[in-house]
């Protein structure tokens, strides 16, 4: 049904409403919205218990994720991971073409690889940001 027949508030009240909502910006900031960009959870907030609850390769990834913040070792770990993921991805590519006949474990593994690739890109971005931060 159209909103045309609804009586709007006067301009002053409308501004008051906007001001009230704007004053709540800080309190509403923590809530997720569809228009926010995706960001990985803050690493410091992830407990060991959470890590254990995640299976297989993803655990491995997270473990590396934390250590990769080490300034000198980080880029090399990322390089090694990129190479290993690239190799793994090539190995899986033939199977991925025939997705229909994959069993679930293989499928999940393929997904995990894709997932890891995205995370590697994020890590690289974090590394770059860290370096920019150091220079500043």
């Amino acid at each position: 049904m159209s909103l045309n027949n609804i009586n709007s508030f006067d301009l002053k009240t409308q501004q008051q409403i906007r001001d009230i909502v704007a004053s709540l910006k800080l309190q509403r900031a923590g809530f997720r919205h569809a228009d926010l960009e995706f960001s990985w959870p803050n690493a410091e907030h992830i407990s060991k218990g959470d890590l254990k609850s995640m299976a297989g390769l993803q655990d491995l990834f997270f473990t590396h994720h934390f250590t990769s913040h080490r300034r000198w070792l980080g880029p090399w770990i990322i390089l090694a991971k990129k190479i290993s993921i690239g190799l793994l991805n090539r190995l899986l590519k033939i199977s991925l073409v025939r997705q229909v006949e994959l069993n679930q474990h293989l499928w999940n593994l393929a997904l995990t690889v894709q997932h890891l690739e995205q995370r590697v890109l994020l890590l690289e971005q974090q590394q770059r940001e860290m370096k920019v931060g150091d220079h500043q």
Partner: protein, 364 residues
């Protein structure tokens, strides 16, 4: 033709006859058995036969109907089977709504689930989507476009329950006009915006309004954030609808179907600020109770509502509040909305849904 088959079995990641998807599976099972077919429900978890039992069942001349709503091992396990695979796509919440510590597992389940959409689309011989919004998500991966059919639910029985409860002596009444939202209290449903709306409504419409939220909290993090915001806005949260008259926000516990019917019946307006709905069962329930609806225009909400409610844009708070004021106070508008809802619910009724389901089955 479905007549060529002897059985259509349904597969779900988890099954409970009380949730909307489980309830639909039961209705479908009843319908399939009514057509003379064998029909069982298999699930990875819940109150149904275990998924492993499917593989020890005689599957000759059988078809499978998979309810796809979250990541599971089902697509991978049924993909190699040489059987027709039908998919009921209920949509999967985008993972970016979940980002706190306690929501990590849900984030992973939704993330993996959404990555399974292409695979499910590829293996499906026929897809039934709750809404055109859902169909648009899976159509790029499937050979044949999905058929749109609203979620099957016996809304009429809920309204009949309300009549029954009303007739009981001493039926409790809500003593303050209430805004109602029904659904899991989770980031994608944006109940925090309902708190803001109530806060504004207290200032610009009436101090008497209260908010009723029916649903459990999705995570402790969201619970904490929600309570912090309520406290900041000076809104008191209570749990008892009948006795806690001072609470501005009521989140009743252990709500039965009868309670639910009574709440729908006595609320003043159904408000939804949800940012992601694959269909929106509570919107339709509200329609069946003649409860006027004000909703945020997002995902499948506009097509579920049709003309039977007021749609507002997110963050247009002055218009949202003006629309709320009109729905609460303008009897002419309420009456016009009621008429629109009565028209709309014909298309969403169980009998209409079953007719579509039968047509869809016969198209194979």
């Amino acid at each position: 033709m479905i007549a060529n088959y002897k059985a259509v079995h349904q597969l779900l990641p988890s099954f409970s006859p009380r949730d909307a998807i489980g309830n639909e599976a039961v209705i479908m099972q009843r319908t399939l058995r009514g057509l003379g077919l064998r029909s069982e429900i298999f699930a990875e978890q819940g109150e149904a036969k275990g998924l492993d039992e499917l593989f020890s069942t005689d599957l000759a001349q059988s078809a499978l109907l998979y309810h796809f709503s979250i990541a599971s091992t089902i697509p991978g396990r049924i993909a190699p089977l040489r059987l027709p695979k039908l998919v009921r796509y209920h949509n999967i919440t985008p993972p970016w709504f979940f980002n706190s510590q306690g929501e990590l597992v849900a984030q992973q389940a939704c993330s993996l689930g959404r990555r399974q959409i292409p695979m499910v689309g590829v293996i499906a011989d026929g897809i039934l989507a709750d809404s055109a919004y859902n169909a648009a998500e899976i159509n790029p991966y499937s050979e044949k476009p999905a058929t749109v059919m609203p979620l099957l639910r016996d809304y009429e029985s809920l309204t009949q329950l309300a009549h029954h409860v009303d007739a009981l002596p001493g039926s409790p009444a809500l003593n303050r006009p209430a805004l109602l939202f029904v659904g899991r209290i989770a980031p994608n449903k944006c109940q925090q915006d309902l708190l803001v709306l109530l806060h504004l409504a207290h200032k610009f419409i009436s101090k008497d309004l209260r908010l009723i939220l029916v649903g459990g909290f999705f995570s402790t993090d969201f619970h904490r954030q929600f309570c912090d915001l309520a406290a900041h806005l000076g809104l008191r949260i209570g749990a008892d609808l009948q006795t806690d008259h001072g609470a501005d926000v009521v989140i009743p516990r252990d709500v039965t179907d009868a309670d639910m019917a009574l709440i729908y019946r006595q609320a003043r307006v159904f408000v939804s600020m949800s940012e992601h709905e694959g269909f929106g069962v509570p919107l339709v329930e509200a329609m069946f109770f003649d409860l006027p609806i004000l909703a945020h225009r997002s995902s499948a909400v506009p097509e579920t509502l049709g003309e039977a409610g007021l749609l507002v844009d997110k963050n247009d708070w002055p218009t949202t509040l003006a629309a709320l004021k009109a729905i609460v106070q303008d009897e002419d508008l309420r009456s016009a909305l009621t008429n629109a809802m009565r028209q709309r619910r014909k298309a969403l009724s169980l009998s209409s849904g079953l007719q579509q389901f039968n047509q869809w089955l016969n198209s194979f």
